[in-house]
């Protein structure tokens, strides 16, 4: 109850503040606010102002005598921000078009026909105005993409659940891959144990991503909450590892089942030459040769 009233109050104060700023296009100072909204505590005011600055409703300026000035920014005019020159408008528009997937600086350059120094300046200016922001893309390390400031970057940029600060959590994926595989194998074993004929065994060993999702959630190995789609991605890697097959059931849902391979390990993989990475360098004569090969020596020593 209490919380609700306070948030209502906050909303109320926020609207009041915006209205105030709208009436004074030249900007409002801290003293203006105090004058018009005397009951507002300083702490709350700071929170509201920070919020509005962040979402771009207000802009912060500094007067010559070092006073702070807040100006209302018209959302409809955000593309044509005051003080923005033509170049900034063009770049803004290009970035806007890219949506939440962002755009590389290079592509902005080609689309805008600006030269690099010019472009860098414009981009920097738009960044300081909090109109656009740079987001590190996971698809290419050290490459940044630009998008409008208020946008939430797409999963393809951040990588979604599998990324922690642009770093792909490889081990996390590996663990999930193993667990998903384990789940499918256990299901297959269980079905085999129950018997009842090959058809029944097969049908019982299928699992949907939802089944696997429940199992993974119950395991509690994931710090972040994983979506069904995340589990589908992981299950697809199990399929790619040739440890499971995927079929679509009549409702269009993917079903997964642990599978066996057709073949046993091929003979070639049982030899050092079969797994040797420098076999192309190996010849009868020369420094790399079968008589001197330390890999073979080591292999011979193992019983």
């Amino acid at each position: 109850m209490d919380e609700q009233t306070s948030s209502q109050n906050e909303d109320n104060n926020e609207t009041q503040l915006i209205e105030l700023a709208k009436t004074k296009p030249e900007g409002i100072s801290n003293s203006d606010i105090k004058e018009h909204m005397p009951s507002l505590p300083m702490l709350e005011l700071t929170t509201i102002i920070n919020k509005l600055l962040k979402n771009g409703t207000l802009e912060l300026f500094k007067t010559k005598d070092n006073n702070l000035l807040y100006k209302f920014k018209d959302p409809s005019k955000r593309g044509n921000v005051k003080g923005a020159d033509n170049e900034e408008k063009i770049v803004y528009k290009i970035v806007e078009e890219a949506g939440n997937k962002g755009i590389w600086i290079r592509d902005i350059r080609f689309k805008s026909n600006l030269n690099m120094t010019q472009l860098n300046k414009v981009v920097k200016s738009l960044e300081t105005k909090k109109l656009i922001k740079a987001v590190k893309s996971v698809s290419a390390s050290k490459k940044k993409v630009y998008m409008l400031f208020e946008l939430e970057p797409d999963n393809s940029v951040t990588g979604g659940a599998w990324y922690q600060d642009q770093d792909f959590e490889s081990e996390f994926v590996d663990v999930l891959n193993q667990q998903c595989h384990r789940f499918l194998v256990e299901r297959l074993e269980e079905a085999t144990k129950q018997g009842g004929g090959p058809l029944l065994v097969r049908n019982r060993s299928y699992a949907s991503a939802t089944d696997v999702h429940k199992f993974i959630s119950d395991l509690g190995i994931s710090k972040v909450s994983l979506s069904i789609a995340d589990i589908e991605s992981i299950l697809y890697t199990v399929v790619l590892d040739n440890n499971a097959e995927r079929i679509t059931n009549t409702n269009g849902i993917f079903l997964y089942k642990a599978t066996n391979k057709f073949l046993t390990v091929p003979g070639l993989a049982k030899t050092t030459c079969g797994v040797c990475l420098i076999i192309d360098r190996c010849a009868n004569t020369g420094l790399v040769n079968p008589r001197a090969c330390p890999y073979l020596t080591e292999w011979l020593e193992t019983s």
Binding site: A269, K270, T272, L277, I278, Y295
Partner: protein, 214 residues
């Protein structure tokens, strides 16, 4: 893979055969942070092998096939099909007396059904062999020589016998060397210089007598 090449124009459409920077990027090369160990360092002769071959699964079947393999090769090596380099000179002779003996165990020549071979391959030596009467003698000698050998190993007093053995061997070689090598031109008249010594069963003459079987 020069850096700084991209970005500033100058990437004219010259279609060169090497990869463009885009492609190299896709492949993970060209970027300064990509695989330094693979590109920038000279590789050591044998980098540590990260992967180990999968161990064999021992099975009776494999063991049996290994025995079969060994048996077959032993058979071949002791058979007349295993042909040794002729000893051209004394220096080329086998160092061990035993090698000579082993070499002679199966010195009887293979009997072929010549209907299945080009006639130019038929040897012409058999005639000479009969005159010398050597064919059988060699076989008989083997046992004797093994006995001799035993003594050799025991007493380490080889001189006399060794010479004797060598004499015999040289004789044998002479016979080989005497084979005419120039018959390439002679073509078909093998009938003149080829005949069996009669002590071995079946040769093509029999067939001629009997006429075709089919």
């Amino acid at each position: 893979m020069s850096r700084g090449r991209g970005g500033r124009g100058g990437r004219g459409g010259a279609a060169n055969k090497s990869f463009t920077r885009d492609q190299l990027n896709d492949l993970g090369v060209g970027n300064k942070d990509a695989l330094p160990s693979l590109v920038t360092q000279p590789p050591s002769l044998y980098p540590p092998l990260e992967r180990k071959p999968v161990p064999f699964t021992p099975s009776l079947e494999t063991d049996y096939m290994l025995i079969l393999r060994r048996d077959f090769i032993d058979h071949m090596q002791l058979s007349s099909s295993y042909i040794k380099i002729p000893f051209a000179s004394k220096s080329n002779q086998p160092e061990q007396e035993i090698d000579k003996l082993v070499a002679q165990i199966h010195s009887t020549k293979e009997k072929y059904d010549w209907n299945f071979f080009p006639s130019e391959l038929r040897p012409k030596l058999l005639a000479k062999r009969i005159k010398k009467g050597r064919g059988q003698k060699l076989d008989v000698n083997i046992q004797e020589r093994l006995n001799v050998l035993e003594k050799l190993e025991h007493l380490k007093n080889a001189v006399v016998i060794k010479e004797e053995a060598e004499d015999e061997l040289e004789e044998e070689m002479e016979a080989e060397e005497n084979e005419p090598d120039e018959e390439m031109d002679e073509g078909t008249d093998y009938a003149n210089n080829y005949f069996d010594n009669g002590e071995n069963y079946e040769d093509e003459d029999d067939n001629l007598d009997e006429g075709p079987i089919y």
